[in-house]
């Protein structure tokens, strides 16, 4: 087992344990999760679907829209905390590399923050499965957590971490909310600017929900046409998934570069970094 892998595993476990013990992270996400479930259950888009498994697929999209943005808001300051003057130098003396540590910090906190949302979605799947006497809704709920919620959470968390490094954290949170709704719900027919909504670049996970979870076609390309808005099928859903994960990787690497630049003594701010 390499040192890097040990460092990643160690920091993920440490961060997850600390975040779970601290309780603030997952407690503060409960109101948002409850609201997202309430909006999903009362949504005509969900209730309008006859098929129980399709209803869970649409629920996953609604929960993704309203709850996952909270992860970005909650975790926007994580990387800033870990780049405080002095702390980087101390951690640099340990055998684990900076990239491994950074990945561990984000992944550990993200796992704890995503847990209440994932649990609620799976419970909804269990309830729908019992009601419909079929295993399909539960399978859709689990698949939804893996293919829709987790990649979207990775993308918004890495973006928030990067924004928190470049801006004061409170303003980064505003930017995270604005960018999230711009990228998932505001299509060009609503706002007069180009948006990723309805394309394979959107972290909404609409393509996965339509192709694999039985949601209605409108969630995928939002009646847009063009090279970036192909018709929903397994290929375009996989492309959406891969592109969102690639975006998360780009944001993560950019944050890594900013932290390396700061650690070399450029642009460090002391004190008021909220």
């Amino acid at each position: 087992m390499t040192v890097t892998w040990c460092a990643v595993r160690g920091s993920v476990r440490y961060e997850a344990r600390m975040a779970a013990r601290d309780r603030v992270l997952w407690l503060s996400l409960l109101p948002l999760t409850g609201l997202a479930v309430l909006l999903a259950l009362s949504s005509p888009a969900v209730a309008g679907q006859a098929d129980a498994a399709g209803r869970i697929g649409t629920t996953v999209v609604v929960v993704n829209t309203f709850a996952v943005v909270g992860l970005g808001v909650a975790l926007a300051g994580r990387l800033t905390q870990h780049s405080r003057p002095g702390l980087t130098e101390v951690l640099d003396t340990t055998p684990g590399g900076r990239t491994a540590r950074l990945a561990g910090v984000l992944a550990g906190a993200l796992a704890v923050a995503l847990a209440p949302i994932a649990v609620v979605v799976v419970l909804l799947g269990v309830a729908a499965s019992v009601q419909a006497s079929s295993v399909a809704p539960l399978a859709h709920a689990v698949l939804g957590v893996v293919t829709v919620l987790a990649p979207a959470a990775l993308a918004i968390t890495t973006f928030a971490g990067l924004a928190g490094l470049l801006l004061p954290v409170a303003l980064a949170r505003v930017l995270v909310v604005a960018v999230w709704f711009w990228a998932t719900q505001l299509s060009p027919s609503i706002v007069p600017v180009p948006t990723p909504t309805g394309t394979v670049l959107s972290p909404l996970g609409g393509y996965q929900a339509v192709a694999w979870l039985g949601a209605r076609g409108v969630w995928a390309n939002r009646q847009r046409t063009g090279a970036l808005s192909p018709p929903p099928d397994s290929g375009s859903a996989l492309l959406n998934l891969v592109l969102v994960l690639a975006l998360a990787a780009v944001f993560f690497l950019a944050a890594r570069l900013v932290m390396a630049w700061r650690a070399d003594g450029h642009g460090t701010r002391d004190g008021a970094d909220r």
């Binding site: 603030v24 503060s28 309430l38 909270g70 303003l171 909310v177 008021a272 909220r274």
Partner: protein, 210 residues
């Protein structure tokens, strides 16, 4: 908890320098954000008359979110709570000054946005709606930051309150006047426990979290 000011104690700062200092402690970027956002919304035409549903929606909902997140950052961001608790000026007064500055910035932003609708009478209702919604989210931010002792946690609660207002309460209280009254009542319900927690002050000491 706070030390009483002894007879020989001379307050070093009691004029405009105090407010300049508190503005710096609150974060100048947070004080500048509301008027700048209002200016951007007007400059892009989204805050003007005839901007359509999206523009009106953005002008009505974005500034209160900024106010709520800023209050959460100010109340949750004081790192020297222990030090403040040892001073004759109560921590609640100090944070109250910073929040007053934030409130003034938010009202200024609301005035700028309301001016975008002039001479229409809707300007007044937009101003009142922005102030009431901002007060509600600000109070929610102050309470959650004091109760959770965490800016990150409080920001998530503010986001939940913002979405709840836009997607649930707006449907229940459809009439604008009723909505404003409901928001002010909610603001008072959040502000009272927030004020009590900040007056106690002790609970803030364990802070140091982001």
């Amino acid at each position: 908890m706070n030390l009483a000011a002894l007879p020989g104690y001379v307050r070093g700062m009691h004029d405009w320098r105090l407010w300049r200092y508190e503005a710096r402690r609150a974060g100048r970027h947070l004080l500048v954000a509301p008027p700048v956002l209002a200016g951007v919304l007007l400059a892009t035409g989204l805050g003007l008359r005839g901007a359509g549903f999206t523009g009106a929606w953005l002008a009505q909902s974005a500034p209160p979110l900024v106010a709520g997140l800023a209050v959460a950052a100010v109340v949750g961001g004081e790192r020297a709570a222990e030090l403040h608790l040892s001073l004759p000026t109560p921590l609640r007064t100090t944070l109250g000054r910073r929040l007053a500055l934030l409130g003034a910035a938010t009202v200024l932003g609301a005035l700028i946005l309301a001016a975008g609708l002039l001479p229409d009478a809707h300007a007044l209702s937009r101003f009142a709606a922005l102030c009431a919604f901002g007060a509600m989210l600000g109070a929610a931010g102050a309470w959650s930051a004091a109760a959770l002792r965490s800016t990150a946690g409080a920001s998530t609660v503010v986001l939940a309150a913002w979405l709840a207002e836009l997607f649930v309460l707006d449907r229940i209280f459809a009439a604008p006047a009723v909505r404003i009254v409901a928001q002010l009542v909610l603001a008072a319900l959040f502000a009272a426990p927030a004020s009590r927690l900040l007056a106690e002050g002790r609970g803030l000491i364990e802070g140091g979290r982001e």
